[in-house]
């Protein structure tokens, strides 16, 4: 950097620094406050240092059902991640050729991304309410014991909740796949085919290893978006709460730093996922630039 920097560089660097402070400052605050002693309050000054509030959190003191909600969110997040990667990859492959209705499918996915979540959430809730009313009506009409005695609702974390999350994660996944395949050099596939690879072999040993880092990116979006999702889940998860929903309820009732401890744990899990994913991607890229592509070795 021998060339001197203009004044605008320093002004903008300062502004960027302010923005980063604005972005991270509040989070740093609650992480600090969550490590207070048992006498700690909701704001500064810090009152001692301890893991008191994390122990309370683990024991569920003052934060009922929070462990259940955390497990619910992890389970749902894992399933959403897998489905987002698989479905987005398949859709990405489909969009490489032209097929009838492809514009409509793309625009529907984009609409699903930008239309207000409260509308999507309400729509899913209504859809399942109508399903429930019809199932119960059938149960009554034909006197089906199983329905009359035990059917409550089809709504749930893994039905309507899963669907609600996918309407949010899939558009991101599909758009990322679009970006990936727009930059993908199909000469690799042609080379594989010329060497006699079947389309399954081309897919599994050439295409997937090459785009594996990007697929990890899709997985990262899938998990973190689901892990934090609240607006679409709000009306659509049924009786079980996800962690963000539980947390939202707690904002009005909890008045101890235990809620900050919960915030620290949630953010910690997000950060762990982000750091692990980004490191793997960087590692793979570095290895590739050293050894050339490892495509064909079946490793990702």
């Amino acid at each position: 950097m021998s060339e001197g920097r203009s004044r605008s560089f320093y002004v903008l660097s300062f502004l960027f620094g302010l923005y980063v402070l604005f972005l991270y400052g509040p989070t740093v605050t609650i992480v600090a406050l969550s490590f207070q002693g048992p006498e700690g309050g909701m704001t500064f000054p810090m009152n001692g240092m301890s893991l008191h509030w994390f122990r309370n959190l683990g024991a569920g003191i003052g934060v009922p059902y929070v462990v259940d909600a955390l497990l619910n969110s992890l389970k749902l997040g894992a399933l959403v991640t897998v489905l987002t990667v698989v479905i987005s990859l398949m859709a990405g492959l489909a969009f490489r050729r032209s097929f009838r209705g492809q514009s409509m499918l793309l625009y529907t996915a984009i609409a699903s991304l930008i239309l207000p979540s409260i509308i999507v959430s309400l729509g899913i809730a209504l859809e399942f309410q109508i399903i429930d009313q019809n199932v119960k009506a059938v149960g009554d009409a034909y006197e089906v014991d199983a329905i009359q005695n035990s059917y409550q609702t089809a709504m749930g974390l893994m039905s309507s909740g899963l669907g609600a999350h996918l309407t949010w994660t899939l558009p991101f996944g599909v758009l990322i796949m679009f970006a990936i395949f727009n930059r993908f050099n199909s000469a690799y596939e042609e080379a594989a085919r010329d060497l006699g690879a079947s389309s399954w072999q081309t897919f599994a040993y050439v295409l997937v290893p090459i785009i594996a880092p990007s697929l990890l990116g899709v997985a990262l979006f899938g998990f973190t978006l689901s892990w934090d999702e609240i607006a679409r889940s709000s009306q659509a998860v049924g009786a079980d709460n996800t962690l963000p929903l539980n947390l939202q309820g707690l904002t009005t009732t909890v008045t101890t730093p235990v809620i900050y401890a919960l915030g620290t744990v949630t953010t910690g899990i997000s950060f762990a996922v982000i750091i692990v994913t980004v490191s793997i991607v960087l590692l793979v890229q570095r290895r590739r630039s050293r050894h050339g592509s490892d495509a064909g070795k079946g490793l990702a």
Binding site: L12, S13, Y19, L23, Y24, P26, T27, T29, T43, F44, V86, I87, M90, A94, F95, R97, F99, L105, A109, I110, A111, I114, L115, P116, I118, I119, V120, L122, G123, A125, L126, Q129, G163, A164, T167, L170, L175, N182, S198, S199, W200, F203, A204, T224, W227, D228, I230, A231, Q235, L243, P244, L247, T251, I259, G263, T266, T267, S270, F271, V273
Partner: protein, 304 residues
């Protein structure tokens, strides 16, 4: 996981290829149909239904819409509740849009034109996007210890003698709602604008400079016009998020500020599903009109 058909026979492959795209796209289409398109249709239909305390009843009534616009026309020029709510929501939209646009554009400009090495740019871009992957609710709660009546900001203001007593309007107010909106949504401006800017040929800027253009002229006549698509995409994101919001306004407004989304949430809470559906349809129409206006500036496919 279903995978491409295994076949070594070239002719069989072309025969299969015709259908390949369809079954590959099928899962996406199925999810969107079941959990997006059908729910929207159901919402539209239910907005004409009636309801009892515990169920919704098919019908074709317009009471729900009449409820939504209760005395809105006769009361003019006084604004009815619905109009006031929409006006307040639109005002939030406008202010948040302006703030995120200015901040987002500045950050994107810095990342694209002032940072010279790819690695630094990547790291700084990650720094900007990582919070997007963490919980919004937590990020809202994080303002409480700073902005509360006994929060850090008030402690500093009173301690420094700038204020005699703590400010009340820092938290659970229009101010904190705006702050949180900007805090959470500026990233939606940064990413698409930086994406547009990264495609601007640096030679254009050099040429302008050689021809004697000042920094502001370059910004105004070259960079802004060529970032138009990114600005439009970012604007669509920010405006639709704020238009439909009920979480941020709820938490940061202390559940006291109305918004178009919050009205729907309240009606769902009261099990008035058809009325909520009618309000959802109204909100949908408003949002679609806004998008239709903004989409003229973009060709989304070109951006990917």
């Amino acid at each position: 996981m279903p995978l491409p058909v295994k076949t070594d026979d070239k002719q069989a492959m072309t025969h299969h290829a015709r259908w390949t795209s369809y079954w590959q796209a099928a899962p996406l289409a199925a999810v969107l149909l079941l959990f997006f398109v059908l729910p929207l249709l159901v919402t539209f239909i239910v907005s004409f239904w009636s309801y009892t305390g515990y169920s919704i009843e098919p019908g074709l009534i317009f009471d729900n819409y009449r409820d939504a616009f209760d005395r809105c026309i006769v009361a003019l020029p006084d604004l009815c509740t619905t109009f006031r709510t929409y006006l307040s929501t639109l005002r939030f939209c406008l202010i948040v849009w302006l703030l995120t646009l200015v901040i987002g554009f500045t950050i994107a400009y810095y990342l694209t034109f002032e940072i010279r090495t790819m690695t630094v740019r990547l790291v700084l871009a990650l720094v900007c996007t990582i919070p997007f992957w963490t919980s919004n609710v937590i990020r809202m709660i994080s303002w409480v210890p700073l902005l509360g009546r006994n929060g850090l900001v008030n402690q500093l203001l009173v301690g420094a003698g700038i204020m005699d007593q703590p400010l009340d309007w820092l938290l659970y107010s229009n101010f904190s709602v705006l702050l949180a909106f900007v805090h959470l949504n500026t990233v939606f401006m940064i990413v698409p604008i930086a994406n547009s800017m990264s495609r601007i040929d640096k030679a254009l800027i050099e040429a302008a400079r050689d021809a004697g253009a000042t920094g502001w002229q370059i910004l105004l006549y070259i960079i802004v016009p060529l970032s138009k698509t990114g600005i439009a995409i970012g604007s669509i994101f920010v405006i639709t998020v704020v238009m439909g919001d009920f979480i941020t306004i709820g938490i940061m407004g202390g559940q006291q500020i109305a918004s178009a989304g919050k009205v729907i949430q309240t009606q769902i809470g009261a099990l008035q599903f058809p009325i909520a559906a009618a309000n959802a349809v109204v909100l949908l129409v408003v949002v679609l009109m806004i998008i239709a206006t903004l989409i003229r500036f973009v060709d989304i496919r070109k951006e990917l």
